[in-house]
Assembly symmetry: C2
Homo-oligomer: 370 residues x 2
């Protein structure tokens, strides 16, 4: 496979770590990165060391002027891992927030100030194989509308997000015709979950001709990241018994703290509404209703309160029933489990794109097709 | 993805089960099958029910007249699973052996007698996306020479084998130029192991930027299949302390029985020489020397004597060390774990082929590229 050039939209937590992790991977060349204030483009490959050093703790956030959107409450990127949030309102950004003209990517010697960072990347996209959308979470249709802008510019290549909002998938589907016409292969939810864990489910399903049940169970320890993730914790609360999205949204900070105290900082979630089910059904692994997602979030420890596992139960062609299991070591951080898979799916999607497979895909569809 | 048409060369155990399992999969249409005496071709799709019924317990074996090769001792296909054999001399065939003019595929109303079954399939290969090579194991270079014949005919498509002989990979590599020129994507070792288990290792490696160790450990229970697998058991003996390929080859049946008795029917293998290591290195997952393969074979029980597991230890980008694990349920038979993955990799390889990626690949290379 040839070298893959890619851009990162957004240089918050996930964007920065994507650039960081890509240094360890073969065949991946970052050629563009942008945040709300600036853009850095070098088709020979960005100097990632310089870019990360220059922007450390200096992340531009706030309204994305290029898009004209108003940001939701910035939370953090753990939403992309472990299933810790239904993820409406969670952001792919994170990190230390700074504002002002000198903030973010323009602090790098590779960065140029701009009023239209995304348009600037789109203008150069002929030479970009793939674009990772690591943008702060704004409105529900923010990512789909970004995709639309690439399609309007007749971009032929890969777009990848690391979110997990079921709702976004439908919105992308609504735009599939335009994506296909442009030649875009869009992979949604390519982080830890749904990404990594539905991929594991697709693999584990290989023993079976019929999958009866997929159980995804995650653990996230969030002590040091708690302050940055209050918004996501709020959304997770919507999954607790007796709560829903509306009631969780209306709670005061004090009420949330009281609830967290009541649970000694450990929140357990069962039967979460999560994109994993939709994506596994799309990949032909099983029916969405056969997928259950749950997990435990501990906001008072960085240790995972439970081990992240994927268990796939099915029937073999010779009539046996069994359960294959995939288990992540507790020592693997949510960040590690987001960024490695995201880049893996990105590279795999480039192959799909070159094969002429355009449209909207879930991560499990990018696996060997069963 | 469009429908994938495929052919099966060989209708022994793996070939028949491939046709069987394909009935449960979407988007796979078997259009050709052959054995040494006959060929069945229908570009609209074979009637698999009829074909399997007509040939049940009626498998043509013996020298493949089309190839002019002399077969090695026929053993059985468990060699393709669980790592139970280094697999020199193991066959992909198996099942009840019969000979004579009416044996095998010609007993089906779809079968036609032929002196050159493989050439007959090659003649129709313009309309065949992929070919699964489920041929009895003959000489070491038998499969590579079949590949060569497809290349000579300018076949553009996918060839898949389910063997695991390190040696064969090198022989295919030697022919890679011709394969690439023809437009062939060859996936070698796409059964349970290396196929399924190296794929699991590639997935489990996604948390890490550096993989330090991959441990593959398999269990196979072979009571009812023992008689058909004596040849493979002989080869496994070569992996025991104090034995090698030559000494194992020279043992009499009585000596082997005595050895099996001495171990109460349970043979444990450590540090097997196995293609998994080479294939994981090719896929960029780790160095070959960091891969260990072992397992336990019980010839007196059909229960697996130990659970098949893949353990991948690595270092995350944020400096942690962890071990991710993949575990197959003991109830999943070796056959289930060969044929599901083989068809999965076959479909994935068709995408590679359409993307213009020709040459020789291991299964882990067909996974999302990390």
């Amino acid at each position: 496979m040839d070298d893959t050039t890619f851009a990162v939209l957004g240089t918050g937590g996930i964007g920065r770590r994507t650039l960081d992790v890509a240094r360890h991977k073969d065949g991946l060349t970052p050629v563009a990165a942008c945040d709300r204030n600036g853009v850095a483009i070098d088709h020979q490959g960005l100097d990632v060391d310089e870019l990360l050093d220059a922007t450390e703790g200096n992340i531009a956030s706030g309204p994305d002027e290029a898009s004209g959107d108003t940001p939701a409450t910035p939370t953090s990127d753990y939403a992309s891992d472990g299933g810790a949030a239904a993820a409406e309102g969670a952001t792919a950004g994170g990190g230390v927030k700074q504002a002002g003209e000198g903030a973010g990517i323009v602090a790098s010697e590779q960065g140029e100030p701009t009023d239209a960072p995304i348009d600037d990347v789109i203008a150069e996209s002929d030479a970009i194989d793939a674009v990772l959308l690591a943008l702060p979470n704004l409105e529900h249709d923010f990512i789909p509308r970004i995709a639309e802008r690439f399609a309007d510019a007749s971009y032929e290549g890969v777009l990848v997000d690391v979110l997990k909002r079921s709702r976004v998938i439908g919105m992308l589907d609504d735009r599939e015709e335009a994506l296909v016409e442009s030649g875009i292969t869009f992979v949604c939810g390519a982080g830890a979950t749904p990404g990594f864990l539905t991929g594991a489910a697709a693999l584990a399903a290989q023993s079976f001709v019929e999958v009866e049940e997929v159980k995804i169970w995650w653990g996230v320890g969030l002590k040091s990241g708690y302050e940055d993730n209050r918004g996501t914790v709020r959304e997770d609360i919507a999954h607790l018994d007796g709560y829903d999205v509306e009631t969780a949204r209306e709670m005061s900070e004090g009420e949330i703290e009281a609830l967290v105290d009541e649970h000694d900082g450990v929140l357990e979630f069962r039967d979460m509404e999560h994109a994993d089910d939709v994506l596994l059904e799309r990949a032909g692994i099983c029916d969405a209703e056969d997928v259950t997602v749950g997990g435990v979030l501990d906001v008072r420890s960085d240790e995972k309160p439970t081990t992240t596992t994927v268990r796939v139960t099915g029937r073999t062609f010779d009539g046996e029933r069994g359960t294959n299991a995939f288990e992540l070591d507790d020592a693997t951080s949510m960040e590690a489990n987001v960024n490695g898979p995201a880049l893996g799916y990105l590279k795999a999607a480039v192959l799909r794109n070159r094969a002429g497979d355009y449209g909207v895909y879930g991560p499990a569809e990018i696996m060997p097709s069963f």
